[in-house]
């Protein structure tokens, strides 16, 4: 079994705070994956609000953001277990994020021994 990170991206910062219905849909999606015993890590949600994001660059240059520089921002990720990347993609397709114009990047996790 391989592991894949599903990385969530949103465009509009106002979408970050979900309505109760959206919250319920997200939890149902996550619960569905856990119920198939295919959740490798509950993952992490990343705050996008001002003051919660900085980028550190070479020469100790620190900037705010990333949301000030690019429109899309990463809102979080989970790690799922799947035989193939296609299976992981199928799981991603059912996420309610697409209803609010977000997208999901699917990336295989490098397994260290």
């Amino acid at each position: 079994m391989k592991e894949f990170a599903l990385i969530f991206r949103l465009k509009d910062i106002t979408d970050f705070k979900p309505s109760p219905e959206q919250m319920q849909e997200r939890m149902n999606w996550l619960g569905s994956i856990a119920a198939q015993n295919k959740l490798a890590g509950k993952g992490t949600t990343l705050l996008p609000v001002p003051g919660s994001a900085k980028t550190v660059k070479a020469d100790k240059v620190v900037t705010d953001g990333p949301y000030t520089e690019i429109k899309e921002f990463i809102s979080g990720f989970v790690v799922v277990k799947a035989e193939t990347i296609d299976e992981a993609v199928e799981m991603a397709k059912e996420n309610p994020i697409f209803k609010i114009g977000g997208n999901i990047e699917v990336r295989e996790v490098l397994k260290r021994d």
Binding site: Q24, M27, N28, L30, G31, S32, A34, A35, Q36, L39
Partner: protein, 416 residues
């Protein structure tokens, strides 16, 4: 409980209740290595009671009578048996054997000894099934035969499980006399898990014997109550577990009909639900919120709480969200299947079918039962097919009967 009339009715009940307490006190007295001596004295005491009471009638205070005999037998033991000199005394630290002569059975000593015994018996090295057998034998005073009946297993199998578990118990360096905060903290999780499994063994038991089922449940409740009476063990998790047990117990009467068949939740006579147990459950659930931690017991108690609530708009969405949280903490097939049932109540059976099929648990009878239920209104042939697979997979006779009835009902509905 009605007042028993003869010693024959009284003794089995008293035996359970007092045997475990007596063994705990004696064992703390002799030390864990000599648990058999403690058990022998306790057994002898009850043997004497059964003989004496048959001749002379039951004394006014049977428990006090038993303790007096146990005390005397312990004194005799120390007087006459050289084992004490050769094996026990060298093991005792100086000063400790002063206490040896004063065996006491005060309420406080009984409570302390029982608590210590619970923590001694719940050894994380034991596999769960051995653990429950040991708990039933030592903490609840069940005989090997009674345990075998509860598990629908041969006596020999239970004996073997007990032997292994007891070896671990004897070789354990657990200090039953001086049980400390660190020891309690390190084992509380195992203790709670054991009580949880003990309760479930009764609640979801394979046996149709109602009496055994109720006794397993009430023993688990009794031991959990004991934990709430000590400051160190009265944690939010303990309270959450006790709340869960109270909510589940409140439906124990309504869960089976007079033939011992399981009555599905929806068909249960709610007037049979025990209101006072529901109130107790609420009380312990409130106590369980005195902390930040949300354990699986909290979530399961929350689900059980919503089950006692009358059907309202919010009931099933809440239950579904609690199942979502529960499955994130700990995967189990039963949680996964129950979650789909709740999903079907919120979003309808049709939408629940693909969710259920994703689980791919085709070797589980519950999986097919669930799919049978989900298909029942949409595709009777498929529903019947799943129910048939469930019948093939289950080993429970009453379940086979219940499912066969359901198939008949569906076929009639279909006009065949």
């Amino acid at each position: 409980m009605g007042r028993p009339t003869s010693h024959n009715d009284l003794l089995p009940h008293l035996f359970r209740q007092e045997y475990a307490k007596m063994t705990a006190v004696l064992c703390r007295h002799f030390g864990l290595k000599h648990i058999e001596i403690a058990e022998d004295i306790a057994s002898d005491t009850f043997l004497k009671a059964s003989e004496h009471w048959a001749m002379n009638g039951v004394p006014d205070n049977p428990a006090a009578w038993l303790y007096t005999v146990a005390k005397n037998k312990t004194k005799d033991y120390f007087k006459h048996i050289s084992v004490f000199e050769t094996q026990i005394r060298p093991a005792l630290k100086p000063g400790e054997h002063e206490k040896e002569k004063e065996l006491e059975f005060s309420d406080q000593i009984i409570a302390d000894s029982q608590l210590a015994m619970i923590f001694t018996v719940c050894n994380p090295n034991n596999p769960p099934e051995g653990q429950i057998c040991l708990a039933l034998q030592i903490l609840c005073g069940f005989s090997v035969e009674e345990i075998a009946n509860a598990f629908l297993t041969k006596k020999e199998t239970i004996k073997k499980r007990l032997q292994r578990a007891r070896t671990n118990l004897r070789n354990d360096n657990f200090r039953i006399r001086l049980i400390s905060e660190t020891e309690i903290r390190s084992r509380l999780d195992t203790v709670l898990k054991t009580l949880y499994l003990l309760f479930n063994e009764g609640y979801f038991s394979k046996t149709n014997n109602q009496l055994i089922r109720k006794e397993l449940c009430s023993e688990a409740v009794r031991l959990a109550l004991l934990l709430t009476e000590n400051l160190l063990t009265d944690t939010p998790q303990t309270n959450a577990l006790l709340a869960l047990m109270c909510f589940q117990s409140s439906r124990l009467e309504a869960r089976t009909n007079h033939k011992g068949e399981t009555v599905l939740f929806e068909a249960q006579d709610k007037s049979l639900w025990d209101k006072s147990l529901i109130e107790k459950g609420n009380y312990y659930l409130v106590n369980a919120t005195n902390g930040n931690e949300i354990s699986t017991y909290h979530l399961e108690a929350g689900i059980a709480y919503w089950h006692t609530a009358s059907t309202g708009e919010k009931k099933w969405p809440h239950i579904l969200q609690l199942y979502n949280q529960l499955i994130l903490i700990e995967y189990s097939q039963i949680t996964a299947l129950n979650r789909i049932f709740a999903f079907a109540q919120v979003y309808g059976r049709e939408k629940a079918i693909p969710e259920a099929e994703k689980l791919n648990l085709s070797e589980s009878n519950y999986y097919h039962e669930l799919l049978g239920y989900l298909y029942a209104e949409l595709d009777i042939d498929k529903a019947v097919d799943h129910y048939k697979q469930a019948i093939n997979l289950t080993r429970s006779k009453t379940e086979k009967q219940t499912l066969s009835k359901e198939i008949e009902r569906l076929k009639e509905k279909n006009g065949r």
